[in-house]
Symmetry: C2
Subunit: 511 residues, 2 copies
């Protein structure tokens, strides 16, 4: 479901976005959200389909997957004491409840003064939510006399989530060096803008990965030291990271909503002051989107690490002891095959975007050609044709990637066996996380570098630097809204499919 909503929505929204921009801004020279452009409505619909519904579905998906994974791991604890077992199996649900309460309180703190920065208000709302959640979790563990290990795991996940969120902020907000540097070099052309933004995108992976590693190690070893299963600790830390997702999803929905507000202000011909205000909101929305994407990716990584453990448990329950050692060539083969899946998946979704955008550009050109009244403003363009085209294209081009996510793990499992499948899942997690972070952050960075130049920096609108930054932004669009965020869904789906088929694969495989 989330794969469809996220990847399909991503293809849909960027098809419309690129087509609207290329024909409107570049060929005809009308503003970004001019109502004469038939692709504009499809673009605005797409922002909601891809970013609100898709990302909401995606985080919700990770939320459910991490909770279920932690509960599954909880059932294997304390086999001798069914009351204790039930308490730890239900603990993830307790955390979720606390997270919802904390989010409801935290959202009240998102208040912007007249001169305040909206991005800062969102961030402080997130921090307050996390703090409240931490206090509630500590109180619950202490009063409910749970093992202290689960508290450490929860806090490790929560803190890592915040750290990763602010790393994304550093790499994608125009208040810091990477965006400024990318904007500055844009004067030397689109290529330098691309190389610089891409390089910072690569660098931005490092702190998040270190955060995921720290969360994994801390939650595992602190849980073990407190006398509870380390893998259960990793599962709990993913729940801890995602428990505040009520707050995260609302921050995230904020982005596309203000993006559309700006578009509607421009389409309705409102005053420049209104458009400027929405521009500020829009830039903050981009950073909020990048933060929540970082959150979603990392939580997916921890969830999938827990699901990975669950997979090994399921196979182990069939009497096959899995070691998944990198010293076995079959495991290395699995890892290499798994590692190549996320790049392939993102390439296929991006190629769909350009392919569908071409169809839509043709449609827009046809409308302008056959009905000259549209450009003159006397005739209403056929918005519905563009919306339909984008939706149909997105669904058709999803078939191959969706099949990939389901067929590949099954094939690897039945041909190369359960250990190779373990390696395959591992490999897909490693590169999946790396490419998802790279693409989300680089995309957000290019977008805000463009916005900074549009707001008057380094030459301002209509300068060469601005043209170069528009190229970066257009490259970043499918990166951050199509390929990047659908990767965490890909790895979650592949893990679930593997766990599902694990019992059959353990019993019968070729090698």
């Amino acid at each position: 479901m989330a794969l469809l909503a996220k990847a399909g929505g991503g293809i849909y929204t960027k098809t419309a976005d690129i087509a609207a921009d290329l024909v409107g801004k570049v060929e005809i020279g009308i503003p970004e959200d001019d109502p004469r452009n038939p692709a504009v409505v499809a673009d605005n619909v797409g922002d909601n389909v891809g970013d609100v519904a898709g990302m909401g579905a995606d985080i919700f998906d990770s939320y459910v997957a991490s909770t279920v994974a932690a509960m599954l791991l909880g059932t294997s604890l304390f086999a001798s004491d069914s009351l204790l077992q039930a308490r730890y199996t239900l603990f993830p649900l307790v955390l979720c409840t606390l997270g919802i309460v904390a989010s409801l309180i935290g959202i009240q703190f998102v208040r912007v003064g007249k001169s305040g920065k909206p991005g800062r208000a969102l961030n402080s709302g997130t921090i307050i939510t996390c703090a409240i959640f931490g206090v509630l979790a500590a109180a619950t563990v202490l009063l409910g006399s749970y093992n202290l290990g689960v508290l450490w795991a929860t806090l490790a996940g929560l803190i890592t989530g915040v750290v990763i969120g602010f790393t994304s902020d550093y790499y994608t907000s125009s208040d810091f060096h990477p965006v400024m540097e990318t904007a500055r070099v844009s004067g030397s052309g689109a290529a330098i803008n691309i190389i610089t933004g891409y390089s910072y995108g690569l660098v931005s992976i490092v702190p998040s990965i270190i955060g995921i590693v720290m969360a994994t190690l801390f939650s595992y070893y602190l849980a073990e030291l407190s006398g509870i299963s380390g893998i259960y600790g990793v599962g709990i830390s993913a729940v801890g990271m995602l428990a505040v997702s009520g707050m995260i999803v609302s921050s995230d929905a904020y982005g596309p909503i203000v993006d559309n507000a700006r578009g509607i202000a421009e389409m309705a011909g409102m005053s420049q002051e209104v458009i400027d205000t929405t521009d500020v909101l829009d830039a903050a929305g981009n950073t909020a989107k990048a933060i929540t994407k970082g959150f979603a990716v990392s939580a997916a990584a921890l969830t999938v690490l827990a699901l990975f453990a669950a997979y090994a448990e399921v196979v182990g329950a069939r009497g096959v002891e899995l070691t998944i050692s990198l010293r076995q060539p079959i495991v290395v083969a699995g890892v290499l095959l798994g590692a190549v899946t996320p790049p392939l998946f993102s390439a296929l979704t991006m190629l769909s975007v350009t392919h569908n955008a071409f169809d839509m550009i043709e449609e827009v050109r046809r409308q302008f050609r056959e009905r000259p009244g549209i450009l003159a403003g006397t005739e209403k363009p056929d918005y519905a044709a563009c919306v339909g085209l984008a939706a149909q294209g997105a669904l058709t081009s999803l078939v191959v990637p969706a099949l990939l996510a389901i067929v590949l793990p099954v094939l690897v499992g039945f041909i190369l066996g359960p250990e190779a499948l373990g390696g395959f899942l591992g490999g897909s997690i490693f590169t999946g996380v790396i490419f998802a972070l790279l693409m989300s952050n680089a995309g957000g960075l290019w977008d805000n570098a463009k916005k900074f130049i549009e707001s008057g920096g380094f030459g301002g609108p209509r300068s060469d630097a601005h043209k170069a930054s528009v190229v970066g932004d257009t490259v970043g669009d499918p990166f951050k809204d199509t390929a990047g965020p659908s990767l965490n869904t890909l790895i979650t789906v592949m893990s679930l499919v593997s766990s599902l088929f694990a019992p059959i694969i353990a019993a019968c495989h070729l090698l």
Copy 2:
């Protein structure tokens, strides 16, 4: 050494290339290799430093490393029979000798008819060399009554090398769909060119990885079935792939030599016919470069897999049995940290390129400003200043990446222990191979898409499509000549450092 030659050379050559292009072509509007541009000589020097010396050093480095790794693995065979042991320890050297003989014969077949395609002649030379080598290896194994497993391993490596080479050819030659499609969509702007080229670059990883997986599995299991160590088989297959490197290095050197021939023809003001001929040679050279880079990356992957086994052997010899299981969180932590090293390394080298290019652009602008006679053609520009600037910048900016390659594995080993270091090496191999293939192939693809448009396709020179393809080419330059090819050196260096420190790390580490 190879790390210095390859990464340093890569930074050097692209600094000069980008600076020369940006000031010359874009700012002043003089042709690519105009002698009035002070950065032109640095650019031509750089082609040799980076591509001939660097790639030669790199392949030679893999060649030596794979031979040594296979010999090391050979010493652990047949502990009871010292004669047999010596035979299998020396067998990698025998393969190298056969490869040199085959290359010397094969090079004689590189003959181009007047209307023949030079790329095809190079390819058929490579095929003939491989065929001769295969026959020689088979004869040696049969007559010398070696275990048949080593023949299968040799052939598995050789065939995989050829398959990977031709995959690179498919994705980077203008005779096939990916380059044509990228050139076709360039009419819609630089962003679409970048997205399409990058996507095909991602797709191009898949067949090579499947090739590496097949070579690993075939050489391992066929060696085991023939009653010889499977890991020794993997080592031998790397040697088999690299034994024909005499032929490969000469094909590879061909690329930059004709690239320079074109430059010199233009600088010397030769007739258009000469320039057109060198253009054809240049495009073939680009594909030859991509093929040999694919060869180098895959051979490095196999070598490092063998070195990886050697690392585990060394630690095992200290009485510590390594499993490096992905079910241990410390190993997963190591893999994640290792996986992030190649992207970080390539980002640092690419940022150095843009940074140094800016310094050089300043120098070129200064020369044009202070000595107007240069542009008028009456005064000789100060070529030496640019050469010096590029060389100094390249060496300075190498310090951090080189330290990274040496310090990181040591840090991971001493803090997280030998199993995490095993995971770290594994992770760096997985993403190292993926990013190296992506960057080499995408870079070659963009370059040839530009060349195809320059030769008159899809609008021809000075069209909008051409401008867009120049952006792709400029992005691809540091991809294919700086970041991509230095990654296999990075992973080789990290493996060697790890094996070197393995005994101390096994004895003393923090976790």
